[in-house]
Symmetry: C2
Subunit: 287 residues, 2 copies
């Protein structure tokens, strides 16, 4: 498979601004960057994304994939991002069929706004076949710990959402963080991960995939995860009703409120190998 050529546009991810605190003292704090990136597909303007700007080429690729405007990365010849003008130029091999029509329907989704094909997404979920991934509670704890240790824009500037893709090791204990992406919009973050996956050789992602997000598990997050072949999603936050309905319908394991040793499994608990003794061990250790 011929992969698209991508630029590696760079831009600062944080910016220092002067603040005044409750003691009346001036100081400097970092805030996350937020820039507009207008996507042109074969010279036609498609959409403007507001993004942190960490991995704009992968964001654009993943956006096109998750919006089902392209079938695979191989449909794209190149993605050229130029921050000077805030533009991403996508060149496809053979164009995108019926692009006008397919980008017309607008749905404002819960968390973020990339829901323009939400109706079509929902219509497609019953066709999704998820892999038989199972994860142990030990692996869940390994994942949560890896997130805790991860250096991030969130730690330095706050106000961004983080996502990560993990694969499960055969030992039933450890996980491997494959990529970690942050963005001001969490749907950008998951789209960037989709773009990242599309650029990897399949061997890179052998073993079960687990998706982590700092954001809530909304229907859109669940659907996008399932589309990426991910059968287990983990969140620091909670879950909405439609996220729950979709997860139940597609047989996806949804774990929320995951911090330290605590978690809540909202759906698909059969994919989780419970090891309650590990939770107990922590409680004894910290008592």
């Amino acid at each position: 498979m011929r992969l698209p050529r991508l630029t590696q546009a760079q831009a600062p991810l944080t910016r220092e601004v002067e603040i005044v605190d409750e003691l009346g003292e001036r100081g400097l704090v970092s805030i996350p960057a937020e820039r507009d990136l207008t996507v042109y597909v074969d010279r036609r303007e498609l959409v403007t994304l507001m993004t942190l700007g960490a991995q704009p080429e992968l964001l654009v690729l993943g956006y096109l994939l998750n919006q089902r405007l392209i079938e695979s990365a191989a449909d794209v010849d190149s993605i050229t991002v130029d921050w000077e003008v805030g533009a991403a130029a996508v060149k496809t091999h053979t164009g995108i069929d019926r692009i006008e029509e397919r980008t017309a329907k607008k749905v404002v989704t819960t968390g973020c706004g990339q829901g323009s094909v939400f109706g079509e997404l929902m219509a497609g979920i019953d066709r999704l076949q998820l892999p038989g991934t199972r994860m142990t509670q030990a692996q869940l704890y390994s994942l949560v710990n890896a997130i805790r240790l991860q250096e991030s824009t969130y730690k330095s500037a706050g106000s961004v959402h983080g996502c990560a893709l993990f694969t499960l090791r055969d030992d039933g204990i450890e996980v491997q963080m494959q990529c970690f992406i942050e963005d001001v919009g969490r749907h950008n973050a998951i789209d960037t991960i989709a773009g990242w996956i599309a650029m990897q050789p399949p061997s890179q992602l052998a073993g079960g995939r687990v998706f982590y997000t700092t954001g809530r598990l909304t229907s859109e997050m669940v659907i996008k995860s399932a589309q990426m072949g991910v059968a287990i999603v983990v969140s620091r936050s909670g879950m909405t009703q439609m996220g729950h309905e979709v997860a139940t319908r597609v047989g996806l394991c949804a774990i929320g409120r995951a911090t330290n040793r605590r978690f809540v499994c909202y759906a698909g608990v059969d994919r989780l190998v419970l090891q309650p003794e590990l939770a107990g061990a922590r409680r004894a250790a910290t008592a």
Copy 2:
């Protein structure tokens, strides 16, 4: 001014689902509802909003206002929401001019997706005249405390964003909470507040207005606040770069990280009457 007739459609805001926790124990937790509401304006489909469903009529009214599709509530004859079919039927007095064209441009904004006219919003901000609102640090603390005491879906089910509109009392100490709105999407929450404002007699909102949100202060939140005649915004969360740029440009006071006695004023500190002795008093009290 003749106000629109609104239904008062009701729907449950939370739902109990069965979960399994880290000890392997089954239990029930509440999660927020999330339902789709398709908006029809004069029988033409406009958009589908994903919402908690607490105040759908005000949400639709505020959405139309914040998207600048209507000038004022008086443009609308009625809004009829029917949860059985997930539809909001808007009847205007004289139609919406060029509605096709004005809803065509799509921008995916940071936090959420109501950015279809974001470009136009940005273009209009230099024309905004904000009132000369100033708030004391005591009033800020009064506001944060009112939010702390507020009963909410967030407390019972998590995973929703809350917004509130306050007015400042003349005593320079207290604030009055005018309305408190929660939704699964924070932009829905602020739109609902815009709808609420549009239905009030002007006398209800005498005194400076202050907007509170649990979400981040993005450019869109800042712009929408300014459009509602709000010159001071307060958030429990932080601020993004474009939010900061817009706030600075329009002279809006942006306060983030507001919990207990702590806060960070990112912009427009001249609107804040600093009383650092109040922050110190807390520290002594809790020491």
